[in-house]
Symmetry: C2
């Protein structure tokens, strides 16, 4: 494979293995597997899931729902509080597929009742500790208000309660991830217990990559929705959610300059390729990725003291030690394990497999069609 520019390279073997392991884990725990497709955003990679029996998926926008519905996915959850301004687009998608929406407020539901053309499923979003969206799990009156706004309306089918334990990304150990999972399940179980008598079919939907990778406790859970595990990344590795060899994507970037006075290697590959998510490096500075070099066709993962340390629009600055500095030459292609594979994939817009095949993603233009 000839690399001439910053390129996102996907190892399909590792990716298939990541999918298989999560499919098996869901089966073992008797929970439905509704993977989040916002990480890969690719019809082709979606088909790898389908080949392993997956039939339901999660997406993060109406446009993404439309994109995957166009490939025959007919059971989708749009896992972001519904944006009422996209009701026309939603009405198009529900002609093709069964759609579940998520909300944490009654206002949106009242709007939907007047503008929906076909019924949708509604999950009420609960916050179990991640301070973003969702009704706090203890706010029982607020939960009741939203449930009330759903029921007794022919266009809205109450599906159950959904949460995203995004605070698992702040964990510092596998044990802490397990504790977060335990806490989440306790809170969701309490709500389930309260509502099950009235709604015997209600479901509890949870699941992010850290908890779904680390935990073996899925008590009371009906459905999991991890997404990032399809590729994993340096963030997941640092959390203890994967091994370094489980990471299926790497950026390949040409070396364009060397700065001997600072032991820095400059690559063509910057913020527009990697995105700017970072991890705290051991020296309290940001790291945008771990470095792999290839010499005589052997790869070598550089130590943790070396990293992609700065990014401008197109340039990346890799900090290495003196010995590594000598090993890397202008014109070399270095490989970088990205900090956040979702954002890197989104920035790059397509994959090249290690065998050299191109895998396309949802076109950026498509995300804008509805303007």
């Amino acid at each position: 494979m000839k690399i001439s520019r910053p390129t996102l390279v996907l190892n399909k073997t590792i990716c298939l293995q990541n999918i298989e392991l999560m499919v098996e884990k869901a089966k073992r725990h008797h929970v439905r597997f509704r993977p989040h497709f916002k990480t890969h955003q690719s019809i082709e990679i979606g088909r790898w899931f389908r080949q392993q029996g997956v039939r339901q998926i999660t997406v993060s926008s109406v446009e993404m729902a439309r994109y995957f519905a166009s490939d025959g996915w007919d059971d989708l959850t749009i896992a972001i509080p519904f944006n009422r301004h996209e009701t026309d687009e939603l009405n198009q998608v529900i002609e093709l597929a069964a759609v579940n929406l998520v909300t944490d407020n009654a206002e949106t539901l009242h709007y939907l009742k007047e503008h929906l053309k076909k019924p949708v499923g509604i999950f009420v979003e609960i916050s179990t500790g991640y301070a973003r969206t969702g009704i706090p799990s203890f706010a029982i009156h607020a939960i009741e208000t939203v449930v009330d706004a759903i029921i007794h309306h022919p266009m809205l089918n109450f599906k159950g309660f959904l949460t995203h334990s995004g605070h698992a990304y702040q964990a510092r150990s596998r044990n802490e991830i397990q504790n977060i999972q335990f806490d989440t399940l306790q809170k969701m179980a309490q709500i389930k217990k309260q509502y099950l008598p009235r709604f015997p079919d209600l479901e509890i939907s949870v699941g992010d990559t850290p908890t779904c990778s680390v935990s073996e406790n899925f008590q009371g859970v009906d459905e999991i929705r991890p997404g990032n595990f399809v590729f994993y990344d340096l963030t997941q590795y640092q959390l203890g959610a994967c091994h370094i060899d489980d990471i299926a994507v790497r950026m390949h970037c040409p070396v364009i300059s060397k700065q001997a006075s600072r032991n820095e290697i400059i690559i063509y590959g910057g913020a527009i390729h990697f995105s700017k998510d970072w991890l705290l490096h051991y020296d309290s500075k940001p790291s945008y990725g771990r470095i792999i070099i290839r010499k005589n066709n052997e790869t070598q993962l550089l130590g943790t003291s070396s990293c992609l340390s700065r990014l401008s629009q197109e340039h990346g600055v890799i900090k290495v030690n003196s010995k590594e500095f000598q090993q890397i030459e202008i014109g070399d292609i270095v490989e970088i394990i990205p900090v956040h594979s979702c954002l890197t994939a989104q920035a790059m817009g397509r994959y090249i497999t290690t065998k050299g095949d191109t895998i396309s993603m949802m076109p950026r233009e498509q995300t804008m069609l509805t303007q």
Copy 2:
């Protein structure tokens, strides 16, 4: 204009004014104006420059050179150390336009000598304090080695010395920006003085948006290459390089959730729309943007204590005070002044003007054509 999703809105009047002011400043100081087009990446906006007499431009990739050459731009500088793996693509572009390359090493030049099909101009990149690429201005032997590698070769025309004072972005006052400009000009003048006897036509090319906006000192400068000024942004405002009313782009985002317990407004609009560049907020936490709300068709810029405080892939969290919290409703469209307009434009991929017209950018796919 109907906004239904995160949308990058461009005020053309402000943009034209920003262009005009910089055109006039360059004329006043008798320097060539070679604006950097990586900020807007749009043929249509490029034409606004052409209408004001601009004929030479700067770009940041070979693909961007090809994109603008396709619209008749025939004098381009690709302002990143040349990546030898794109020599084939470069050979296509130099069929259409005169191209200047930038380098800080002789290896790349030796490679080019063997593979170029037509002559190119070469600028030697000098580092005057921004620790990224370029030969340190004091490293006279290293500079001489690179100049030596250029001259006496029919394919390489030595054009002069180029620098980018990116450290101006770290300044904390307009005075500090002026000092950085003074320091840069001193260093470049010394090199110019040394080489002018041998190369009477050599040029000094400098210029980023902070120094070009703030400084009135361009002594010894032949050419300036600012880019961001076309839109400006919150970073430039914080540096003192522009007024808040000079910022020509805003993100318009729908409100999808309210979190009363934390005075937080959740918008549809996240890292994939804004990028993740941030400024330090007064409370030592990141700010991803300043907030403008619109009530009864009047706009109101919220105070500095309110900001876009967190971003995940599609969600943004706006921190406001209690009074502002009451003013904003689910379904409202809020406007956000982005921290870094270059990366936000790159992430969004197109503009909608305040009059509702669509302005396209270089297609993302095009940046990948050469794989």
